[in-house]
Each structure stands twice: as structure tokens, then as C-alpha cells.
Amino acid sequence: MPTKNYADAMLDVLRTAMEEDPSFVVMGNEVLGIGPEGAQFEPFQREYSERIYFPPCSEASFAALAAGAAMCGQRVFAHLGLAPFTYPAFSSIANEIASARTSSGGRLDVPVIMHMSHGLLHGGGGQHSETPMGMYWNLPGIEIVMPSGAREVKGLLRTAIRSDNPTLVVTHAFGYGATDDVPDEDYEIPFGVADLRREGNDVTLVACSAMVGVALEAAEQLAADGVGAEVIDLRTLVPLDEAAILASVAKTGHLVVVDEGRLRCGVASEIAATVSERGFDSLRAPIARVARLDVPVSASAIHEAHISPSAEKIVAAAKGAVGAGAPAASGG
């Protein structure tokens, strides 16, 4: 299978969409990030120059423009930039896009595709390093997609473009160059189906986006210490595959939720709350969240490391959970 990075994977899908839908448009600056992968955009840009727009630095109107076009049936792939640059567009997203279908009584679809980059932009500080998925998940009405690798980027973005709902596709700001074995052909990954990336009997690690890789790394380390970790890649937050999480916790009895976003009211909080409601009887120990600490991001690399999840922190949390609970039925 060919090796592709996120940028290749995105371009595969955008190219297909351009070919099959003559009204499909790509709008945004630095669609493939501000790193070297940005250059991969150029041939695509030349080929489809008439349907690629570089909008002004006007995120609010540009997101609304994409939504208004979507309400008329056109699909615009709107790259809003880094997550913090979506904040000027927050009213367009929260007020205009998320509730439009409900407000119309189901008479109006809004098949807009919004894309943004999240995560620690090393040295970016408080305004360039957001992982605001907790905020967006608090907002019903938008499908939220968080691919963990290039293969997922391709399959999930494809599904997003075909969805008749507003989708928020979130890739990692430092992931555009990350590679994977990615088929050349077109394929979809369905929304709402988590991916069991590794099986284990002792503890469940739930993660999404770049944290899946970190969780897998932690699982390796845990295995070396005799702890069997199961790793679940959520792939989409909305819809959420609750069943997969609950089934795994039913098996392992222990849960560590990993999230690059901030602790309070974040993705980890929601997974923890859901399991504490619906999987309580499976739990043999406290749930542990390994998430960004509850402070703004400083530009210091030392601070960045201090506040961010890491394999080491996950290992410690998993060992804490497993140690605290009743011994697992079958050692990992």
C-alpha cells in the first residue's frame, strides 16, 4: 500500500470531490498547514485554480459564507486555520451553523465542511495552541471528526464531504507530515464507529487524534510491564461510539481517557462522565483523565511539556488505575 502523509490523504479526497462535484470549492489559507507540507498544495492549486479561494483574514464571514453556500446546496471545504482562528468565527459556527437545521424544523440542510488544525503549535503560546474540542462538542448540531492518522484523514474526510450535515474536521497542526499506509482508491470510514487499535485485558485507553499514537506508545510500555492496555480511537466525537467504550471497560474494568484538550469540560470529562453513568458497574477503580492541565498554554517548551499528556503520564495513570482496582480477572 502506498505511504502517504496527512497532506496527501487530504489532497486525495479533495481531488475526488473536485472531480465528482463541479460546484465543489476549497477555501482557506494554508490549507495544509504552515509547515513544509504546504508545498504539496501547489499542483492541486494549479489544477483547480478556479475553485480554490484564498479568503481575507475574516474568519467570521468566511465560515458563514461557506454555510450560506451549503444551505443552497453547494459544498465548500472551508479551512478555517488553526483552532484559535475559529474563535472569531465562533458566532457563525455556534449561532448560524449548529442550530440552523433545528431552527428550520428539519427543512434546511447545511452540508458545510469546516476544517481546522488543533494542538500544540510548539512555541505558539496561548493563541496558537488550542484543542477546543470540548467547546465544540458542547454545541449540538455539528458532526465532529478527529482523525488519528493519514488513513483516517482520508476515509473520514471522504465521509465528511458526503455528509449532509455540518462537519468539523480537525487535524493536528503538527500532523500534516505524518505518514501511514493509505490506499490510493476512494474509501469512506463511517462516522460513529470507534476503532479498537489494540486489545488488552487490564485497562482501556480512550483517545482521539494525535493522542491515539501516544496512547499506543504508552500501551507498548505497559505491555513491557505486564499490563494489557486496550486502545480505542474514537475517530468521531459526534456521533460517539459509546458502545465500544462501554464494551471495552466491561472487559478491562479500568479506564484512562487521554485528551490533548484542556481538562475542565473537555473530551476526557465527557467520556469519564458517560462511563460513570453507563458503565459504572464495570469500573473497578477510579477513572483517570490525562489531559492538558487547566491553564492557558505558555510559549515555553518546558511549560508545554508540563501541561501536556505524554506516554509517561498515561503509563502512570494506567498503573495507578490498575493498581488501585481489584486485580484484573486475567493479567495483561
Binding site: 443552497c72 433545528t102 428550520s104 424544523g105 434546511l108 452540508p111
Partner: protein, 340 residues
């Protein structure tokens, strides 16, 4: 342009304006009868603008309206029964009761989402224009909004984008707060802008703009037709600044029928015009202004006018009955409307 309309046309247009007026009066009445509860905004005093703009449009054009939407929806031709049922939160309403007064829309007639966020309709209409330009055909997008919308940053951004991409969007600013311009009076009924003339804003972006007397159907229609034509010819956006005095009933935050329900006799009987709001009835009420024109031109006799009014009044009474008879939506139905 006036010769463009024959008697039937003009009667139909007056009927549309009067339908809006009687509809809005019914909304107010039903609110005070506690048939619904919500903060609502009436279109009284702006009927000529809405009807004229809609008359300039074709069936494929797309529209985005705002919190003061009732008149736009009726002017475009939505069934008043369904519209009133919507405001009353009935399942039989245009939007199954989910929209209420603030978000009512009629997608079958080209409306996209109705935003009650100031500036929202400008931004969404810009997107509709983007899609229509990309598509074949000559359909145009219309964004309807108030003067207050020109205080929101997103409006400036949207005008810039429309100008940059030469989008076929007719921006219709219904300025019902001309007295407040430049002052900071506080509260909603005001545009708080340092701009001396709001038309300077679209002009900054190179968007053609014209001010028109929003009380006068013919003038608004003439301008709207020109603006629509400009957009159909794909010559970029156009900005209409339609100015009306603010209807006294919309001065307070919650509308009040300060002027009473409209007596159609005021169209011909000077004596019927009296009291605190005599000025408004004489010089500013766009429905009465148009009715007087029809009486003066001989298109309509007094009897015909009375008959027309009775017909409209009956239609709205029927709409009220329909609306009141409707059931609310099933509680769980809200789950069906979130995702396609």
C-alpha cells in the same frame, strides 16, 4: 415605472402589504391573548419595502432574513396560516414550531436560515450569493437586515468578500432608526455608528449603493429591480438603503400597538386621522400611502378598498383559527431535526 403595473397588479400588491399589516396585528393580539410567548418584532411600517423587494425577485432567488422576518416571509408569498402557526409554535407551522417568531423561514420559497443574530443574515446571504454565482443561471441572493447590522464586524467582512468575489447579492438595509444615527441612545432601537451616512459603508468596498424612501413601493421597487438586474448580469453586489421612520409600536423593546389596529378609512378620510400618531398615519404608513395612490389613480374605489381589507382581514382570521387549532409538536420530535 408606475405604468408597468396594471390595476390587478396594484391591487395584488396592496393586498400583500395589507396582509402583512393584518398579520402583524394578529401576532400582537395573539401574544396578548397568551397564545404564545416569545420576544417578537413586528414589520409594521416597513411593508412597502418588503413587498417591493420580493416583487423584484424570481422564484429561483435565495433570501436570508433576520429577527424582523414576518413581513419578508409573507411578502414572498408564504401561506399566512402556516406562518402564524409557526409563530404560535405549532407542529402545523412552517417549521414545525421549531423556529417561532425569530427563526421562521420557508425554504421552499428560497429562504435559507433566518438568523436572529444581528449581522447573521448579511453573512449567510453572502454565502448564498457565492453558491449562485458558482452555479449556472442568473439567480441572485438577497440579504435583509436592519441598520443595527452595520455595527457588527461580520457585516464589514461580508461586504468585503462580496465585493472581492463580485457576488450577486442584493443587500437590503432597512433603516428604521434614522433619527438615532450617530447617537448612542441606548437600547435596541438605534444605530450606534460614527458613520455619517450608512451608505458610506458599502461605498468603502466599492459596492454600488442607493438610498430610497422605504415607504414608497414604486421607488423601492424601481431600485430593487435595478439592483436585481445588476446582480443577474453578474456585475457584483448591490446595496439598497431603504429608510423608514420607526413605527412607534417598535420603539419599546416589547412591541406595543400604540397606534391601534389600522383603520383602512384613514386612506381617504382625513377626519379619521387624529391623535398622537396622526403624523405617522398621514405621512409614514406605507400601506395607507399605497392605498391612497390606488384611490387617486382610480385603480381602486373606496368600496373596493374596503372589500379588499375585509378579504384580507378574513384571511388572517382564518390563519389565526388555523394556527390556534394546530397542536404543538411531539416532544421527542426535536431529535429528528438535528441531523439530516
Amino acid at each position: 415605472m408606475a405604468e408597468r403595473w396594471d390595476k390587478a397588479d396594484r391591487t395584488r400588491l396592496l393586498e400583500r402589504m395589507l396582509t402583512i399589516r393584518r398579520f402583524e396585528e394578529a401576532v400582537d393580539r395573539l401574544f396578548h391573548e397568551q397564545a404564545f410567548f416569545a420576544h417578537y418584532h413586528l414589520y409594521i411600517g416597513q411593508e412597502a419595502t418588503g413587498v417591493a423587494v420580493m416583487e423584484a425577485l424570481g422564484p429561483d432567488d435565495r433570501l436570508a432574513t433576520h429577527h424582523r422576518n414576518h413581513g419578508h416571509v409573507i411578502a414572498r408569498g408564504s401561506d399566512p396560516s402556516l406562518a402564524l402557526a409557526e409563530i404560535l409554535g405549532r407542529d402545523t407551522g412552517l417549521n414545525h414550531g421549531c423556529a417561532g417568531t425569530l427563526h421562521m423561514s420557508d425554504p421552499d420559497l428560497g429562504f435559507i436560515s433566518t438568523s436572529a443574530i444581528v449581522g447573521g443574515s448579511i453573512s449567510l446571504a453572502t454565502g448564498a450569493g457565492f453558491a449562485l454565482k458558482q452555479a449556472d443561471g442568473d439567480a441572485v441572493a438577497v440579504g435583509l437586515f436592519g441598520d443595527g447590522a452595520l455595527e457588527e464586524g461580520v457585516s464589514f467582512e461580508s461586504l468585503n468578500m462580496a465585493a472581492l468575489y463580485s457576488l450577486p447579492v442584493v443587500y437590503v438595509c432597512e433603516n428604521n432608526s434614522p433619527g438615532a444615527l450617530g447617537s448612542a441612545g441606548g437600547g435596541f432601537p438605534t444605530s450606534v455608528s460614527a458613520v455619517k451616512d450608512l451608505t458610506d459603508i458599502p461605498r468603502t468596498f466599492g459596492i454600488p449603493v442607493e438610498t430610497v424612501d422605504g415607504r414608497r413601493f414604486d421607488e423601492v421597487h424601481e431600485l430593487a429591480a435595478r439592483a436585481v438586474d445588476h446582480c443577474r448580469r453578474r456585475e457584483g453586489p448591490y446595496f439598497i438603503h431603504a429608510v423608514t421612520d420607526r413605527w412607534a409600536g417598535s420603539q419599546p423593546l416589547w412591541p406595543e400597538m400604540t397606534t391601534g389596529e389600522t383603520e383602512i378609512a384613514r386612506a381617504y378620510d382625513e377626519a379619521a386621522i387624529e391623535g398622537e400618531h396622526a403624523d405617522w398615519f398621514r405621512d409614514h404608513d406605507p400601506v395607507l400611502i399605497y392605498a391612497r395612490e390606488l384611490l387617486a389613480s382610480g385603480d381602486l374605489s373606496r368600496d373596493e378598498l374596503a372589500e379588499l381589507d375585509a378579504r384580507v382581514t378574513a384571511r388572517i382570521a382564518e390563519a389565526s383559527e388555523f394556527a390556534l387549532a394546530g397542536s404543538p409538536p411531539a416532544p421527542e420530535s426535536v431529535n429528528d431535526y438535528v441531523f439530516a
